[in-house]
Symmetry: D2
């Protein structure tokens, strides 16, 4: 389960600013994409990166992910574990070891 303290802090932050009105699932999904682009910008010209900047941009992506999970009424950690079970079935160890090929090309 996502740490209660994080969810509580995010909810309070949003409530104090009366921002729930902007946080439709659609707008939160757009926000995840926008912040993912800023995270990617840390690696625009190659693999070297500034760890502090990456952590900050990653935090922005995660923040919108948590807000969207909360809006959907799902637990972030639980949906990750649920999806992992599905992915494990699509990528059996013996077929997928050491290759980055997609499941439909294994």
């Amino acid at each position: 389960m996502t740490n209660d303290a994080v969810l509580h802090a995010l909810r309070e932050f949003v409530a104090e600013r009366d921002w729930a009105q902007f946080h439709s699932p659609e707008n939160l999904a757009k926000s995840v994409s926008i912040e993912a682009g800023e995270l990617l910008e840390c690696f625009q010209w190659g693999p070297d990166f500034n760890a502090e900047r990456v952590a900050e941009e990653l935090a922005d992506v995660l923040t919108y992910c948590y807000l969207l999970a909360d809006k959907l009424g799902v637990d972030a950690d639980q949906i990750v574990l649920d999806k992992l079970a599905t992915t494990k079935a699509k990528y059996p160890v013996e077929k997928s070891r050491g290759t980055s090929a997609k499941y439909d090309q294994l």
Copy 2:
């Protein structure tokens, strides 16, 4: 702190498949962006959505976020809380209440 069980499950999943070799920070950041695009696709033509599909795509974004945090050696929940402190300072309650304007336009 991110739930140990989730991190443990993700690390085991990657180790069993020998996939750490593909998981450079750069590749994980690309993966976050790619999955964020798939999440956005749930809302491509409007605000209506299939909750189950959104949860699955959100799980994919979160999975790569957790893997990237782990690779950086930071705790996902902690960087969210740290960034929240910064954001609170940029968006004081009295100035930002009820508006979606960016901090430099408040």
Copy 3:
């Protein structure tokens, strides 16, 4: 065919700055995604937009698209027409009229 004047101007811009070394197809693809995120930011909280800002962000996406097409040795307009032929076959007029459903759900 993409207007020669545009391609010529872009190539000259890159050559003068000795930037071709950064413009691997991978880096250009990342750049398209990053700029697409900035374009999306114009619509983060809803459908209203600043037309001038949207045009500027769209121009950035297009610029990296043209540079990537040029790097691949393909003509931007031609690949659009080629893909349109494929898409027309996937979305026959009689089945797809007035619906935003994906081809596999028509």
Copy 4:
């Protein structure tokens, strides 16, 4: 100016399917981001790529870019040239030659 034949073909494709109703600027901007993610997926695990697949995904990004430009009433090639003039001013040749640094760090 964008080739008339391309614009004509795209407009006819949309009109025949009665899809203009889905093509708000916001939805087209989301679509550009979604397709940019699919383009990026061609490079998810490294710089190697399938040129045919990249060209197809790039065509999808370009298609939505052209549709958005058309919706805004601007010419794709013209906004690229306009933006290039701005970018040239931000990145003077003598300061930016051979470096991928952002303009605010030159």
